[in-house]
C-alpha cells in the first residue's frame, strides 16, 4: 500500500491548521449539549467531518481521527446512561459492583479521551500529526492511502518525450 507524503507544518496554511484543530474542539462544544444523551457530539463530529474532509489530507486525517475516537466513548456513555436510567428511574436493575466498575471505567475513558483530544487540538494547531492509539493508524490509512484510481491516473499521466 502506498501513501501520500505527509505535509510538513510549513506546507500547511493557517486555515488548514485551524480546521484540523476545530475537529477536536468541536467535541468540547457539543459534549455539553449532548448530555445526558451523548449522541449529539457524535452527530456534530460527523457533520464536521463531512464538511471538512475535502479540504486537505491533513484536515481529513484529524477530522476522521476525532470522529472515530468518539465512537467508543459515545457507545460507552450511552450504555452507562441507559443502565443508570434502568436503575435509578425505572427500578428495573440494582446498583451492582459491575455497574459501579463500569461507571468508573467510563470516567477514566472520558478523561483519557479528553486529554488526547486536547493534545490533538494543540498539535493540529501547530501543523503536526498526532496519532491516537488504533484510531491514528486507521485515520492515517484513510486520509493518506493512495487509492487505486490515483494509481490508474498516475499510469495514464502525460510524460515528456524521452530525449
Amino acid at each position: 500500500m502506498e501513501y501520500h507524503e505527509i505535509e510538513q507544518p510549513n506546507d500547511l496554511t493557517k486555515k488548514e491548521k485551524e480546521d484540523a484543530m476545530g475537529a477536536y474542539l468541536m467535541m468540547f462544544a457539543s459534549v455539553g449539549a449532548g448530555l445526558p444523551l451523548p449522541i449529539i457530539n457524535l452527530i456534530a463530529s460527523i457533520v464536521y467531518f463531512i464538511i471538512n474532509k475535502g479540504k486537505s489530507r491533513f484536515v481529513k486525517f484529524h477530522s476522521y481521527q476525532s470522529l472515530l475516537s468518539q465512537f467508543p466513548t459515545t457507545v460507552i456513555n450511552a450504555v452507562g446512561v441507559f443502565w443508570a436510567v434502568q436503575i435509578f428511574l425505572l427500578d428495573n436493575y440494582e446498583v451492582t459492583d459491575i455497574f459501579k466498575g463500569y461507571v468508573l471505567m467510563a470516567v477514566v475513558l472520558n478523561l483519557v479521551y479528553f486529554i488526547f483530544s486536547i493534545v490533538g487540538a494543540v498539535k493540529a494547531r501547530k501543523g503536526l500529526m498526532y496519532y491516537f492509539i488504533f484510531f491514528g493508524k486507521l485515520s492515517y490509512h484513510y486520509a493518506y492511502a493512495k487509492s487505486p484510481t490515483s494509481e490508474v491516473a498516475k499510469v495514464i499521466q502525460n510524460v515528456p518525450p524521452k530525449l
Binding site: 427500578d91 466498575g101 493508524k137
Partner: protein, 259 residues
C-alpha cells in the same frame, strides 16, 4: 498494517476491560451510605414535616386501642438489638387500609388496617416490616434519591411549599423497590422470631390482601407491591426447632370496635 491496527484495537479493549474488572473488584467508590443524611438532620426534618404535613391527621386516643398498640410495639422494640431511633407509633382515624413509616421512627397506622387485620399478631408483622424500613433507612434513601439532599435542606431553611408537598406525598406513598421490600421483610421475619411471633403471619396477611385486591381503599396493596412473591417467601421462613408463638394478650375484637 492491518495486523498492527488490530493489535492496537486489542490493546485498547483489553486495557479498558482490565480497568473495568479492577474497578469491579476494588471500587474507589464512595459508599452510598456515607452520603446519607445524618440522624440528627433526619430528626430535624422529621420534626418539621410532622408539624406541617401530618398535623391534619386525627390521632386515635382511645385507651383500648393505644394500650393494644403499645403492647404490640413494646414487644417488637424490646427485641430490637440497638436502634438509633426513638419510635413513635400513631393510630390515625382513616378508613384506608394503610400503615407506613416516615422519618425518624414515626410510624402511622390507619384505623382501616386495624379493622382489616384478623389478629394483633398480623398487625405486629406489618409493624415489624415498617420498622425494617426505618432501620434500613429506606425512607431517608427514597426521598434523598427522589429530591436530592440539597432540596431537603432547602426545606429546612425555608420550607418551599412545592418541595414540602412532594416530600409529604413521598412519605405517605411509601412504596419501595423489590430489593428494599425484601430487605424489610427479612428484617420483619427476624424481629418476629425474636419476639416469639410466627413470621408466616405475614403470608397470611398477604394472601388476604391479594384476595381483596379490587378494593380501592386497600392502599397497603399499592404501597407494598410484588405481594405474590412475598407470600411465597413469607411462607418459606424457617422456624427454629421447638418454636412456639406467644400470642398477645389482647382482645382484638374490642380494639376493632373501639375504632
Amino acid at each position: 498494517m492491518k495486523l498492527r491496527i488490530l493489535r492496537d484495537l486489542f490493546v485498547l479493549v483489553a486495557l479498558f476491560g482490565v480497568i473495568w474488572i479492577l474497578f469491579i473488584y476494588n471500587p474507589l467508590w464512595v459508599d452510598g451510605k456515607d452520603l446519607r443524611m445524618s440522624y440528627e438532620k433526619e430528626a430535624e426534618l422529621a420534626e418539621y414535616l410532622e408539624k406541617i404535613s401530618f398535623d391534619k391527621f386525627k390521632e386515635v386516643e382511645d385507651t383500648i386501642v393505644v394500650d393494644a398498640i403499645n403492647k404490640i410495639t413494646d414487644r417488637l422494640l424490646s427485641t430490637l438489638d440497638t436502634s438509633k431511633y426513638d419510635y413513635d407509633f400513631k393510630v390515625i382515624t382513616n378508613e384506608e387500609k394503610n400503615a407506613f413509616a416516615t422519618l425518624n421512627g414515626n410510624v402511622y397506622i390507619f384505623s382501616g388496617i386495624i379493622k382489616f387485620v384478623e389478629s394483633p399478631e398480623e398487625l405486629a408483622m406489618i409493624l415489624a416490616h415498617e420498622i425494617g424500613h426505618v432501620e434500613k433507612r429506606h425512607v431517608v434513601d427514597k426521598i434523598t434519591q427522589k429530591l436530592g439532599i440539597e432540596a431537603l435542606f432547602a426545606i429546612l431553611n425555608g420550607g418551599d411549599p412545592v418541595l414540602l408537598s412532594e416530600v409529604s406525598k413521598l412519605l405517605v406513598s411509601t412504596s419501595f423497590d423489590r430489593k428494599k421490600e425484601a430487605e424489610a421483610d427479612d428484617f420483619a421475619y427476624k424481629l418476629a422470631l425474636n419476639s416469639k411471633l410466627n413470621p408466616r403471619r405475614l403470608a397470611q396477611f398477604f394472601i388476604r390482601v391479594l384476595g381483596e385486591g379490587n378494593q380501592t381503599d386497600l392502599i397497603i396493596l399499592n404501597t407494598h407491591p410484588h405481594s405474590s412473591k412475598r407470600v411465597q417467601s413469607a411462607s418459606e421462613v424457617e422456624l427454629p426447632a421447638g418454636f412456639e408463638e406467644v400470642e398477645f394478650d389482647i382482645n382484638w375484637e374490642s380494639v376493632q370496635l373501639a375504632l
